[in-house]
């Protein structure tokens, strides 16, 4: 594949997004003045509530422990150690990130509805879409903080290992820090898209249903290529359904650079940023749908 293709797509994506924003500014600009502070307030309380619940701290501590435990493989050569740390560390960040996205995304709105804490908020001059967006922004901040901490720990561990094995004459350690940070950022972007989809479901379903649906989405997302294969061999309505599922599910794989980074294979940064642009568009549509459904939700 021509490497310039990714760059072209990226520039095209930027132009499209800018055009959409410019063309629709009359629709969103006036409301934004009122909406942004409310969204920010709800985001802040969402983050504050998550901080009060010790679960997040436990998750971060667990991941940090896992990352440190990977340094115990000192019998491996530096090259193997680097690979273990990078692939294992990025995998831990992704796994815990996904679990966190599922539980944070699934609990935010349904819990407020089930606890009826949403009554006091919606009785205030807060539009329903501001509430949904506020919750989403809060989720993004929570996920971002956790991913940032885990990435910082991983980078720290890699840097320390690099320093420790610097005098060894064997194959270089090569911590590939730039790649690790890029892979972690892309992982975070995929979590942002996943969280939006989970929140869409949570606006119409209960907590349990949302968690179950979120795991199904994750499973379907991981098995996308198998679904495509199944769709190719299926016929009629089944084929249509499978193809729709395949295409509509967000291709989180486009954000996955862990493999390239662990194996020190070159990757196209533009491919990643184009996926992010696409993800932004997808997320916006999903959030608008979530707002529409929540607007009609009888709490």
């Amino acid at each position: 594949m021509n490497p310039g293709y990714a760059r072209v797509l990226f520039v095209l994506g930027l132009i499209i997004v800018a055009a959409i924003i410019a063309v629709t500014r009359k629709a969103w600009a006036p409301g934004a003045f009122h909406a942004l502070p409310s969204i920010w307030r709800i985001a802040k309380i969402t983050v504050a509530e998550a901080r009060r619940r010790r679960v997040l701290h436990a998750v971060v501590v667990l991941v940090v422990l896992i990352l440190f435990s990977m340094t115990f493989f000192s019998y491996l050569s530096p090259q193997e150690q680097a690979r273990m740390l990078i692939s294992g560390g990025l995998a831990a960040i992704t796994v815990f990130g996904i679990l966190l996205a599922i539980f944070v995304g699934a609990f935010l709105i349904p819990q407020d509805v089930e606890n009826r804490t949403v009554y006091a908020i919606l009785a205030k001059p807060v539009r329903r879409f501001e509430y949904v967006l506020g919750k989403y922004v809060g989720a993004l901040i929570i996920l971002g903080a956790v991913v940032a901490v885990m990435t910082a720990v991983l980078v720290g561990v890699l840097a320390i290992q690099d320093r420790l094995v610097a005098d060894l004459p064997e194959s270089p350690f090569n911590p590939n820090l730039g790649g690790v940070i890029f892979a972690a950022v892309m992982s975070y972007c995929s979590l942002a898209v996943l969280t939006a989809l989970i929140m869409l479901i949570s606006t119409v379903a209960s907590t349990t249903m949302t968690v179950v649906s979120a795991f199904i989405i994750w499973a379907v997302g991981s098995l996308q290529s198998q679904i495509y294969d199944l769709a190719e061999s299926a016929t009629g309505a089944t084929k249509l359904v499978l193809l729709v599922i395949y295409h509509v599910m967000p291709k989180l794989e486009n954000f996955d650079f862990r493999h390239q980074v662990s194996n020190f294979i070159s990757y196209s940064v533009y491919s990643g940023w184009t996926a992010v642009l696409h993800g932004i568009g997808y997320t916006l549509v999903v959030l608008i749908l979530a707002s529409i459904f929540f607007n009609d939700r009888q709490v």
Partner: protein, 312 residues
């Protein structure tokens, strides 16, 4: 707004809950025509399932009516500007339980866009008003029921609303707590706020309300001031001592005497001369008159009567 203008008005408000198990639907609110005037304290009372909370939720935009309309301050309930002027105390004080009182007030004040200085002022003012200054840093989940209700009232007052909607403000409170809450409501009434109150506790409703509406099965079955609803007191109760059985039987035969039991004589719809005749009969029979009273019907009586009639 003049005191006679309606702050809140509903016309034919109806809410039907439909589900797979009840395709025909359950009418939670049935053609409700409610009107609350500026400055008055209006209470909606009714048994569980009568549609009180549903009505409040419709007014606050938490659920949507099947038909009919409602307006607050002359504007549709869907208008966001309405919510700038109302305050809502939800039943059982559902607020974020990991935050303290001051954090909660600060958050809700922030939703109205108040700057930090104003929010700090509000926190102090409101916590003083509801008597929570000393416990401002206690997390909501560690507060007693009474403290929670007071905090919930404080958050409802954050925007100094013209209309307050209180859903069961004293539910779950001990007598001291109920007393405190009632005093607060009276204070707010004194400050000129319009209050729409839903409650089970008829005694406190009697204490604070100007008008009462009795709801049953989604319909307003009776409405008016307490005296309108209670009507004239027609019964007179005479407490006596020393009347023998024969004398009691003779007394009971008089037209206006309803009942003579254990020395208590009840007469109904008696004019003055008939009353004196009964008193004389007691005296002639050798009985001692201990007490003569004309008890007023309580709201409880009115309530039971209205529900009973409606049930029939």
């Amino acid at each position: 707004m003049s005191s006679q203008e309606a702050v809140l008005q509903t016309e034919g408000l109806t809410k039907i809950y439909r589900s797979l198990f009840t395709p025909a639907g359950v009418k939670a609110v049935d053609g409700l025509n409610l009107s609350v005037r500026a400055g008055e304290t209006y209470s909606v009372v009714g048994p569980n399932g009568s549609g009180k909370t549903t009505t409040l939720k419709i007014l606050l935009g938490l659920i949507f009516p099947t038909s009919g309309s409602a307006s607050i301050f002359g504007r549709s309930i869907a208008d966001l500007a309405v919510r700038e002027r109302i305050g809502f105390l939800p039943e059982d004080a559902y607020l974020y339980d990991c935050f303290s009182g001051e954090e909660l007030i600060d958050f809700y004040a922030g939703l109205f866009g108040y700057p930090r200085k104003r929010r700090r002022q509000l926190v102090d003012e409101l916590l003083s008003l509801v008597g929570m200054q000393a416990n401002r840093r206690v997390p909501f989940r560690e507060c007693s029921k009474g403290m929670r209700q007071r905090l919930a009232l404080a958050q409802a007052l954050v925007n100094d609303p013209e209309l307050l909607i209180l859903d069961e403000p004293t539910s779950g409170l001990d007598p001291a707590g109920r007393h405190q809450m009632t005093r607060l409501i009276l204070e707010l009434k004194r400050r000129g706020k319009t209050i729409l109150l839903c409650s089970h506790f008829l005694a406190e409703v009697e204490e604070v309300c100007d008008r009462v509406g009795i709801m049953y099965r989604g319909r307003l079955v009776a409405e008016g001031t307490l005296s309108d609803l209670a009507g004239e007191a027609t019964e007179i109760v005479i407490t006596t001592a020393g009347i023998g059985e024969a004398a009691a039987e003779q007394l009971a035969q008089q037209a206006v005497v309803q009942d003579v039991k254990d020395g208590v004589v009840r007469i109904e719809n008696a004019d003055e001369s008939q009353l004196w005749a009964v008193l004389e009969s007691i005296h002639r029979a050798g009985g001692q008159i201990l007490e003569v009273t004309r008890p007023r019907p309580t709201l409880q009586d009115v309530f039971v009567r209205a529900i009973g009639e409606e049930a029939q």
